[in-house]
């Protein structure tokens, strides 16, 4: 039970309190670029969640079971990036072969994902936070992806409304998006302190 609570807290922490987009600014590029329409935002979010969960787990395993025992920490970044690129490629091939309709929906996002900071970010932060067992690594990396999906969907919903709003001319486009993002982070700061 205690174990379960720790996992649940870890999960809620990365979704709400330490949301990567709002507190660590990771994945800001797709967050600002692909959040124009809610269906595309959801597609992007799901693709990122999938790859984050997979590569977070894989890099944790490689780091804990291969690199650390062999004292090869210096090659860590290169290994991480190769694992992520490999995972993205694998997911792309698998989805295209077995779920063609899903591939249509993800399509353009999958290749873009290998350079998404959320994914390398979670691999690095798993190490910074000192995650020490596999189950925790899986839960935290999945939660990070879900946190990203939540953030990008909220943003897309706001921007769909914003398209109809009367924005001052100088702030049209990117500036008002950034200011909206700022207000959203302010809202999410309300969760700070909920979990240590």
């Amino acid at each position: 039970m205690d174990r379960f609570m720790t996992l649940l807290m870890g999960f809620l922490s990365v979704v709400l309190v330490n949301n990567f987009v709002f507190t660590k600014f990771l994945g800001t590029c797709p967050y600002l670029g692909v959040s124009g329409r809610i269906d595309r935002a959801l597609g992007m979010g799901l693709a990122v969640t999938f790859v984050t969960a997979l590569s977070g787990t894989l890099t944790w395993m490689v780091d804990a079971w291969v690199l650390t025992p062999l004292h090869l920490e210096i090659t860590r970044y290169i290994c991480y990036i190769v694992i992520i690129a490999g995972a993205v490629q694998l997911v792309e091939m698998y989805v295209r072969r077995f779920f063609p309709s899903l591939y249509e929906a993800f399509g353009i996002f999958l290749p873009l994902i290998s350079t998404n900071c959320v994914i390398l970010g979670i691999c690095l932060f798993l190490d910074v936070w000192g995650t020490d067992n596999l189950l925790e690594a899986v839960v935290v990396s999945t939660g990070t992806g879900i946190g990203f999906t939540v953030a990008i969907c909220i943003m897309a919903a706001i921007r769909e409304e914003l398209a109809l709003a009367d924005v001052p001319e100088a702030l049209q486009g990117a500036p008002i998006t950034l200011i909206t993002a700022g207000l959203l982070t302010l809202a999410f700061m309300g969760f700070a302190g909920m979990i240590k």
Partner: protein, 229 residues
């Protein structure tokens, strides 16, 4: 863009200066947005980050440019990222050894340079097509433009959050620090307002050229967003 220019020196200066203002990665192209938001709480870490990016950008542009004839289309991205990751490792170890405090402040954002879109974008758009000299100049220009953007943003945030710039007190004693400026809110809102300001400034310059007599229609704000995605 640069290839249409005839003389060699024009080509070089074009490659060097494009990134500093006209194609400034942060203010005009809006790519690689995570460091400008994350490390700009003060000028010192921002400057360190900028210099690291300049180093990585120049080195990776040079290497990609030298191996541009060996690139295979489907392995291109992974070759870029492995090259970049190598130089980022060098940079990270250098910071850990010689600037340990900065390395601690920047933390995971140094390895995150690997996935900074600016570097891959330049490798793809410039270095995989152009020769080594143009690629180096392009990397330098883009890097300086990025560093400039980081410094402006961090100067505003540090000034309002602490009353200091570059750790030197500039505000009068009565100044009440805005703590919000150090938080994520400050980053987003400051960058949004700076972009708005740039919109206003560039509009003043472009509108009279394009439509001197036309009705006050709104197309002026458009040139801002060519490559957001």
């Amino acid at each position: 863009m640069a290839s249409s220019n005839g003389s060699a020196s024009g080509l070089y200066s074009e490659a060097l200066f494009a990134g500093i203002w006209r194609e400034n990665p942060t203010f005009r192209l809006m790519i690689g947005m995570c460091p400008p938001l994350a490390v700009t709480t003060a000028v010192k870490p921002a400057l360190t980050m900028g210099l690291s990016v300049i180093f990585v950008l120049i080195c990776s542009n040079l290497v990609v440019s030298l191996m541009r004839n060996l690139l295979k289309p489907h392995l291109r991205i992974i070759m870029f990222t492995v090259t970049i990751a190598t130089f980022v490792t060098v940079c990270d170890l250098f910071l850990k050894a010689y600037l340990p405090t900065m390395s601690e402040i920047l933390g995971a954002y140094v390895p995150l340079i690997i996935v900074n879109c600016i570097i891959i974008f330049r490798a793809e758009a410039c270095a995989s097509k152009a020769g080594p000299v143009v690629s180096i100049l392009d990397g330098l220009g883009m890097g300086v433009g990025f560093t400039l953007a980081l410094c402006i943003l961090s100067a505003v945030r540090e000034l309002l959050a602490t009353g200091h710039v570059f750790d030197i007190p500039v505000m009068p004693k009565a100044f009440v620090p805005w703590l919000a400026m150090q938080m994520p809110v400050g980053a987003f809102v400051t960058l949004g307002l700076i972009l708005g300001l740039i919109n206003v400034l560039t509009r003043k310059r472009t509108v009279p050229e394009e439509e001197p007599e036309a009705a006050p229609a709104p197309p002026a704000a458009e040139p801002q967003l060519p490559a957001t995605a």
